[in-house]
């Protein structure tokens, strides 16, 4: 009987003890007190007890028991969260993951590793470092925060400017639902379509399920890193310089700032010896190929000097770089030296709005008579203004909170979001309605009801009350609208993708999902619309993509089956204000909702495209070895702007290699030399300006390989296969190999290859419906989500759904 044993905590506790053993359950006063707090300084009540499971099965059994007796479960990593996510209400059970610390072996070929949720963020990178890999999301709390907490908050960090937030680094999740059932929800296949539950779970703050294990992506350690430190006498100038720098098409891996107040605190704490008479210290980092890093950091340094920097320094070596980062990453902790209390905000605005917001915060500071110290993930438009006060002074306390609310309003007025990385928790429940429209909030609550019908998972978090005063629906864009300063573009769903890309390419930017060539040729299909790109998660054997639509989508307007419009996301680079409906729906077809309009992030285009053509050796064994070596070489060459690809046609014996890059002796020039060495013969070679590449390719280079008229299947190696078994299914003679997303496209009708996942994506140039989701997916949830979004089944209903119960 649910709820019955709630009145009998003794029986419940002994049930827990049976699962966990004596040392796995803490019921003493000290534990109940300590676990009632986290880094947010917010509290709700005293938990009943704290469970520290030693394995995943213990965790699930504990959750299952809680569900039967109706006791709330609050999952906890290390309690470094800043929005009160891990703070339990009275009588809840805290389930800590600190004893779930297993690290799986590093798969250095697929660049993945499987870890348990209690592993600390830093620990993953240390584990992967002998393989020359690391875990890219690097929150300032990375030494202490757990992977489970990172996933639950979708944590970001300085280097997310280049690599994206936690969500972009998840392959699959093992998780427990509120009844303790085990699920595995994955994106092992880069372009897999369907409702993306990984996107939903990531950032859901422990309100939908508990992550018990995660398969993480790793990225390659850069060959060279250059770190600049620039000082500015004026804060607004500094913010303007960041906008200008990114608008130049430079692609730093991180741009961070600390203002003067913060700099003073850090100096006092660590005595780095930085000047404290400046308004801003800014860190700009470039990473990658040594010459590119030298060229870009040189340009960036010059740019900063021309745009208001009073001094630009360059870290001489690794230890100096470590010092710089320590200054940035320890800044938050050092605020304890400034005042006894503070409210830290986590607002994020479109990039171009950064200078304006900075100006407005100065005004708010004066108006409310408060002290504010700020750190910035400037390149992301994300900032952490901290308003300081002493709680023993009621007037100061009141002013501090009023100033904080004013800053949040100011960010929302500029089309921003209330939280870029810290989450809603309990801290932002009162401000979230200022951002969400009523319909979106209703859908979010509906999702919660489906996943957690008894409301035992982290209750009281993330969802504002249903009767809150929600924001009005943001108007749906009616035409393609570029916001160059923000590096975003909005467009209605029926806008032509080719037209959008064409305009962007002219300015040196694009959505790097593959270059398009009007109606034909190497692209993503005839007459593709922006809506199709998003709904179908279109990929294809297109030119040098850097990812899929999901990686660059920021904002979505969509309509439910019963005609209700809602708006999710914001035109900002990170956003964790509620469940991530944007990425969950991207690629889900038109089954749950219909896209109406979107906002994408724009990225700089590569300067040039290198093209090499050569003949395969006639000896079969030689051919295989050569191709394997080519793939290995090209894999190491993938850049952030777009990755290499290779087109193989064994019939004619021709191979074409396409690599985005720079027309410099040390880049495409060097690649040419490397290829000649690999091949043993020179290849036919052209270097093209990237924005003309599709046109030329279409006209001259690869006749007969048109997407529109062909059948295309994508293939990807199944995750549990032995690495090193070859880059393609044995005997496959015609294919396009892509480095990002890592797929093989085959025009052959035969789709079944042992050890490989295959998806017939295009048939006769038309996109095919996705195959049924793999096992391990909670079908009942998917179907109840269908009922939530499309109650009268007015939208498409895939075959696999029919006859199944929710």
């Amino acid at each position: 009987m649910p709820g019955q044993e709630r009145n009998n905590p003794k029986a419940f506790l002994s049930g827990l003890r049976e699962i966990l053993g004596d040392d796995g359950l803490l019921t003493d006063d000290a534990a109940r007190f300590v676990y009632s707090r986290d880094a947010s300084h917010l509290t709700l009540g005293r938990p009943l007890a704290v469970a520290l499971p030693r394995d995943e099965s213990q965790l699930r059994r504990v959750v299952g028991l809680c569900r039967t007796v109706g006791v709330p479960v609050v999952c906890r990593g290390t309690g470094t969260g800043l929005s009160g996510g891990a703070v339990p209400g009275h009588g809840a059970l805290v389930v800590g993951t600190s004893r779930l610390r297993d690290l799986g072996p590093v798969d250095s070929i697929q660049r993945r590793v499987r870890v348990q949720p209690g592993v600390l963020n830093d620990g993953v990178s240390r584990h992967a470092s002998p393989s020359g890999l690391h875990f890219a999301p690097d929150p300032s709390s990375q030494s202490a925060a757990s992977i489970g907490g990172n996933i639950a908050e979708n944590a970001g960090g300085p280097h997310c400017l280049r690599h994206g937030v936690t969500l972009q680094h998840l392959v699959s999740l093992d998780w427990s639902d509120s009844a303790g059932r085990a699920f595995n929800t994955g994106r092992a296949v880069p372009a897999e379509r369907g409702l993306d539950l990984v996107s939903l779970l990531c950032g859901s703050e422990g309100t939908l399920g508990l992550v018990t294990s995660a398969d993480l992506k790793l990225v390659v350690d850069p060959a060279e890193v250059a770190t600049l430190l620039a000082f500015f006498p004026d804060l607004e100038d500094a913010a303007g310089a960041v906008v200008g720098l990114l608008g130049e098409g430079l692609a730093p891996v991180a741009v961070e700032m600390v203002d003067q107040a913060m700099l003073l605190a850090v100096e006092e704490a660590f005595g780095f010896g930085f000047p404290t008479d400046v308004a801003v210290a800014m860190i700009i980092e470039f990473a990658g190929q040594p010459e590119a890093v030298a060229e870009d950091s040189g340009r960036a340094g010059g740019f900063m000097e021309r745009h208001g920097a009073s001094e630009v320094r360059r870290a001489a070596d690794d230890s100096e770089r470590d010092e710089l980062w320590k200054c940035r990453k320890k800044a938050f902790g050092a605020v304890g030296r400034l005042a006894p209390n503070y409210v830290t905000m986590d607002v994020v605005v479109p990039l171009g709005e950064l200078p304006g917001l900075v100006r407005e915060i100065q005004v708010i500071k004066v108006q409310h008579g408060v002290e504010i110290a700020t750190t910035f993930h400037a390149g992301d438009g994300n900032l952490h203004p901290g308003v300081h006060y002493d709680e023993r002074d009621p007037d100061q306390t009141r002013r501090a909170h009023a100033a904080a609310d004013a800053i949040i309003r100011a960010a929302l007025d500029r089309d921003g979001s209330v939280t870029g990385e810290h989450g809603v928790g309990i801290e932002k429940l009162h401000v979230l309605p200022w951002q969400l429209d009523r319909e979106t909030a209703r859908l979010q609550r509906g999702i919660k009801d489906i996943f957690d019908p008894d409301k035992i998972l982290n209750p009281g978090k993330l969802h504002p009350p249903a009767d809150a005063d929600f924001a009005a629906l943001k108007p749906v864009p009616a035409e393609i609208d570029f916001h160059w300063a923000n590096l975003t573009v909005s467009a209605p769903a029926d806008a032509s993708l080719a037209q959008l890309q064409q305009t962007a390419l002219e300015r040196g930017f694009w959505i790097p999902v593959g270059a398009l060539a009007g109606d034909e040729g190497m692209g993503l299909g005839r007459g593709t619309t922006v809506g199709n790109l998003v709904a179908e998660l279109l990929t294809g054997p297109a030119l040098c993509p850097a990812g899929t639509a999901r990686d660059f989508l920021l904002e979505l307007w969509a309509e439910t089956g019963d005609g209700r419009l809602f708006h999710a996301g914001a035109p900002v680079f990170k956003n964790v204000a509620g469940y991530d409906l944007v990425h969950m729906l991207c690629g889900s077809g038109r089954v749950w909702a219909q896209p109406r309009a979107v906002t994408f992030q724009l990225r700089p285009v590569p300067e040039s495209l290198g093209y090499w053509r050569f003949q395969l050796p006639s000896d079969e064994q030689q051919e295989v070895t050569l191709l394997e070596r080519l793939v290995e070489y090209l894999t190491g060459r993938h850049g952030s702007l777009g990755g290499p690809m290779m087109i193989v046609d064994a019939g004619t014996g021709s191979v074409v290699v396409l690599i985005p890059g720079r027309s410099r002796p040390w880049d495409l020039g060097q690649i040419g030399e490397d290829l000649a060495n690999l091949l043993g013969t020179p290849a036919e070679h052209i270097e093209l300006p990237f924005n003309r590449a599709t046109e030329i390719l279409k006209a001259e280079l690869i006749p007969g390989w048109a997407l529109n008229s062909s059948d295309w299947t994508f293939l990807c190696r199944l995750p549990d296969q032995e690495p090193g078994a070859g880059f393609r299914p044995a005997g496959m003679g015609r294919l396009i190999w892509q480095s990002t997303p890592r797929l093989i496209w085959s025009p052959d009708p035969e789709t079944s290859h042992p050890g490989w996942h295959a998806d017939r994506f295009y048939s006769g140039g038309r996109v095919q419906p996705p195959v049924a989701p793999a096992e391990g997916v909670p079908f009942d949830f998917l179907i109840r989500m269908k009922t939530l979004f499309d109650p009268s089944a007015a939208l498409e209903t895939p075959e696999w759904m029919e006859g199944r119960d929710g």
């Binding site: 000290a30 300590v34 520290l52 470094t80 600190s98 240390r126 202490a144 902790g333 304890g336 030296r337």
Partner: protein, 458 residues
């Protein structure tokens, strides 16, 4: 000279509260805390302990009343090793003295109120630990016990003993393991020669003890007053002699005040503040003359140098840790030691005195030697003096954890500079990586000098 602890500023609750506010609860200290790493329990973390202290202060109003404080709160402080790793890690500058305050409160309550695995090591044994000759005697007994047990019961003795009164098995193991580190010069040379793949030559004087000889420049070094330390003189007397040998060979003018006594740390650890104050007073008198003449006082064990610095301002500036002294000396030329070496930082050096670079400088100075860094150099090995005897299981787990971290570097040899850490890690390595030996840093340096002398002779 007044004892600084007698009117420690921390006794004022208002002041405590003020300091506590400096903790922003960020949690960045957690991964540096040995007890949290081993248990995953946040009560046993720095932030957890600070939260509890705050609650104790808030709920008591004027004076923290230990009787009204729940046991579990005080237990959390008793379980703190006092390693200070959290203080080093904290970006907000929260002082360790807060936790120390909690420890003092916990020490006030009768042991039976704490949920300790009683009976612990007999109090009589603990009380005698700082008496001259006692440790040496004990370690010989322990060595004997170990030997006999291994003979009689094979490898199972360890488990059987651990089932006995808590801590005794541990004490026997730790003490018994110290004599297994080389004692005579000949043993040390043979062992290191073996590791380096050298054939042990018949040296002048070997296998008997050798001296490095006086410096070419005998009065170039500073005047040094040697503080013996009871563990070093009792358990590692040969190492201690080699250390002095090294100092003389580096031109130091060495004196050794005879009337010196234990620094008092052991008495503090075993809850005898009176005895500790006595010892301090005695040592202060003994070394006052040296201080006045500007002679530096050197203590070989990091634990002693740390404790001596707490005697007061003159001692804080006048006392120098052995490793720091050596790093500043003009050492005799060093011969090649082609080994991968991991250094373990004693908490009393790294966190207590901020000594991090000096031991590494010394190792780098040895030709052919490669330093390898463990992943968690800042985490305590779990020895903790008397703490380890009260929490033997936790202490053992930490010792193994530390040994695993050190062994994972691929080191051929581990070195450190505190006898407590030495025994603890030796014990952990025996389980985790029996092939990896551990030595005092000074022994390794001494060997490097000897090798060089040999090579110039031949």
């Amino acid at each position: 000279m007044a004892d600084p602890r007698a009117h420690s500023p921390i006794t004022e609750l208002n002041h405590l509260d003020e300091l506590l506010r400096q903790c922003v609860q960020c949690g960045l200290c957690l991964p540096h805390c040995a007890t949290w790493l081993a248990t995953g329990n946040e009560v046993q973390s720095p932030r957890g302990r600070l939260l509890l202290l705050g609650e104790m202060i808030r709920s008591s109003g004027t004076e923290t009343d230990t009787n009204a404080t729940p046991n579990a709160f005080l237990q959390a402080f008793d379980e703190c090793i006092g390693c200070r790793a959290c203080e080093t890690a904290c970006p907000s500058g929260v002082p360790f003295s807060l936790l120390e305050y909690g420890q003092l409160r916990a020490a006030e309550i009768p042991p039976h109120r704490l949920d300790l695995p009683v009976p612990a090591v007999p109090g009589a044994v603990l009380r005698r630990m700082d008496q001259p000759g006692f440790l040496e005697f004990l370690s010989q007994v322990a060595g004997l016990v170990r030997g006999v047990l291994t003979l009689v019961a094979g490898k199972t003795w360890r488990r059987r003993l651990d089932r006995g009164p808590a801590g005794t098995g541990r004490l026997v193991r730790l003490l018994g393991s110290l004599p297994t580190s080389p004692r005579s010069d000949a043993e040390l040379v043979r062992m290191l020669d073996g590791l380096c793949g050298r054939e042990t030559q018949r040296r002048n004087g070997l296998p008997h003890d050798v001296a490095l000889g006086a410096s070419d420049n005998p009065s170039a070094g500073p005047r040094v007053a040697f503080f013996r330390g009871c563990a070093n003189s009792g358990l590692l007397s040969d190492t201690s002699r080699r250390f002095r040998d090294l100092l003389s060979a580096s031109g130091c003018r060495l004196e050794e005040p005879a009337a010196q006594d234990c620094c008092g740390a052991l008495a503090t650890h075993t809850g005898r503040p009176g005895r500790s104050a006595d010892l301090r007073r005695r040592n202060r008198d003994v070394f006052a003359g040296a201080l006045n003449e500007g002679t530096v006082i050197v203590a070989e064990a990091a634990g002693c140098s740390h404790e001596l610095k707490e005697y007061g301002d003159e001692f804080r500036t006048g006392v120098v840790d052995a490793v720091v002294l050596l790093a500043g000396l003009d050492l005799p030329p060093l011969g090649s030691v082609p080994l991968r070496v991991a250094y373990h930082d004693p908490c009393h050096a790294r966190h207590g005195q901020g000594i991090v670079d000096e031991p590494r400088m010394l190792l780098t100075a040895i030709p052919g030697l490669e330093i390898v860094e463990p992943i968690e150099p800042e985490v305590c090995c779990g020895s903790g003096g008397a703490w380890g005897l009260r929490y033997p299981e936790l202490s053992d787990e930490l010792g193994r954890r530390k040994a695993a971290d050190l062994a994972a570097t691929g080191a051929d040899l581990v070195v450190t500079s505190n006898p407590g850490c030495l025994g603890q890690i030796a014990d952990g390595l025996r389980v985790i990586a029996p092939d990896v030996p551990i030595l005092p840093l000074t022994d390794l340096l001494w060997y490097a000098v000897l090798i060089r002398i040999d090579s110039t002779r031949s």
